[in-house]
């Protein structure tokens, strides 16, 4: 059942050209960034590992943004287009529908990552970091996308509206991403430090820094950064399960 929902979503994206537009935007953005990093006078003076770290931040950031926008309408769209009732009248559980949609969102991220791969290869050429860069960007990005898509699905079931889901998801994404972009010198108090330790996006950037700049490429050396990401996924999973249970209690169709 999950497979059929996933397949329907993938086909819908191909038919409606939505993902194609996103992938085109992503590739333009990556081209522009890579070109700047390699040719701009000031930027090209940066160490190559710093360049890679910057590019990895952009790839994961753009990927998360695309996924957030797309995931916000995937499940909520069923309610808005009045297709949810017919779908849930079939012998399918809300869990199967939601997981089918989540796997589609992860697939979309994998396509974004695939588009970014040539830029990674060009930027990391003549370093020994290509393999580590590809592996860690894929691992960390996939975990973050998985967590975010679970959270967005939970929000979609609550609001049943793309606009409300998107605005809430963007607020959450910004609340996590913006502090991660601050320099460590700005994070002077204990609250900022604690938030930095549990923030999954900050953990991604720190892990990439650890791999690309400090050359700590082995998985155990990055466990301290993976843990906040895994905790984020676990929390998102718990929120999703509560949301599905509540959705089943409220009914497939909205109370009138």
């Amino acid at each position: 059942m999950i497979k059929f929902i996933w397949l329907k979503e993938v086909r819908e994206e191909l038919y409606t050209w939505k993902s194609t537009v996103w992938l085109l935007v992503a590739s333009l953005l990556f081209s522009f960034t890579s070109y700047l990093l390699l040719t701009n006078k000031e930027l090209s003076l940066l160490d190559q590992t710093e360049l890679l770290w910057l590019l990895s931040k952009i790839i994961i950031g753009v990927g998360l943004l695309i996924v957030t926008i797309d995931a916000s309408s995937t499940l909520a769209g069923e309610f808005e287009k009045d297709t949810a009732e017919s779908l849930f009248l079939a012998p399918i559980t809300p869990y199967e529908v939601v997981w089918g949609k989540i796997f589609y969102v992860v697939t979309l991220w994998l396509f974004v990552f695939l588009v970014s791969a040539p830029y990674i290869l060009v930027t990391s050429a003549s370093t020994h970091l290509t393999g580590a860069f590809l592996s860690y960007a894929l691992l960390l990005g996939t975990l973050a996308v998985f967590g975010f898509s679970m959270l967005i699905s939970a929000i979609s079931l609550l609001f049943r509206s793309s606009k409300n889901t998107l605005s809430t998801a963007l607020i959450i994404l910004l609340a996590l991403a913006v502090p991660a972009l601050f320099s460590s010198t700005l994070k002077t108090n204990s609250v900022a430090e604690l938030f930095g330790k549990i923030n999954p996006i900050e953990a991604i950037f720190a892990s990439l820094d650890n791999v690309l700049v400090d050359y700590h490429m082995r998985l155990p050396q990055n466990m301290q950064y993976l843990i906040p990401l895994l905790v984020f996924c676990a929390v998102a999973f718990a929120v999703l399960m509560i949301s599905i249970r509540q959705f089943k209690r409220r009914g497939i169709v909205k109370d009138e």
Partner: protein, 241 residues
């Protein structure tokens, strides 16, 4: 033998009691007309019976299955719901194949093509649903409801907005289905259509069942032997206001 039994169903939306102590039984093979003014609770009742909305209290049994076995019930019923959204980017054939797969139907393509033939959409099966007329979409909704060869069919205003020809097409199709043994619960505001099709009629108002029986039984209930269903409906719902 009852194929559907609902006992003391209650559903409220905040302070509004949409359905109150509704008890309903449908015998296998019956063509039941389900009537009521706007806001009487018809759609809410159908949604509770089809598992789309949990009742606040009450018991529902369909084809011997209790309402908590939602996926098993889904395999026994077909529904044309009030909200009829479609995946407009799909063709009719793709749409039915998608649902056939969800129902785990062995020969999806053959089943789909048979249904498209029955609802006379074969010649447009490769067109996008977004290009369909309202009548074609209604027929497609009916085909989707029949994809699992259901024992009982719930129809919430299936002829709404159709021209007379479209209405007649669907009526003939439903009569034929009923002759083949499919039990039908038919909700409509088109009373001549209901009196022509249904073997028994249930009327609800303010969420309560106010009358049930054949047309002649309803005529006896209002003490007017020559009354049309329209007159009976007005009398019963006015008395109940």
């Amino acid at each position: 033998m009852n194929i559907l039994s609902a006992k003391n169903l209650n559903k409220s939306y905040g302070s509004i009691q949409a359905v109150e102590n509704l008890t309903l039984e449908i015998v296998q093979g019956e063509f039941l007309g389900f009537l009521g003014p706007n806001g009487a609770g018809k759609t809410t009742t159908i949604r509770m019976l089809t598992g789309m909305l949990p009742p606040d209290s009450g018991e529902i049994t369909i084809a011997g299955l209790s309402s908590d076995r939602k996926t098993d019930i889904a395999r026994s019923i077909g529904v044309v719901p009030e909200s009829r959204g479609f995946y407009d980017w799909m063709t009719a054939e793709e749409y039915l194949i998608f649902f056939a797969r969800l129902y785990d139907i062995a020969d999806c393509k053959k089943t789909t093509n048979n249904l498209l033939d029955q609802v006379r959409l074969s010649d447009r099966k490769n067109s996008k649903i977004g290009t369909y007329s309202r009548g074609m979409k209604q027929r497609l909704a009916l085909a989707r409801a029949l994809i699992n060869n259901p024992k009982i069919l719930f129809l919430d205003e299936p002829t709404l907005g159709l021209d007379p020809q479209g209405q007649e097409d669907i009526q003939k199709f439903l009569q034929n289905l009923n002759r083949q043994g499919v039990t039908i619960l038919f909700s409509s505001h088109l009373l001549p259509e209901v009196s022509a099709l249904c073997s028994r009629i249930v009327i609800i108002n303010h969420g309560r069942l106010i009358a049930s029986g054949t047309i002649s039984e309803l005529q006896q209930q209002v003490h007017r032997q020559e009354s049309s269903l329209k007159d009976i409906f007005f009398l019963l719902t006015k008395n109940n206001d």
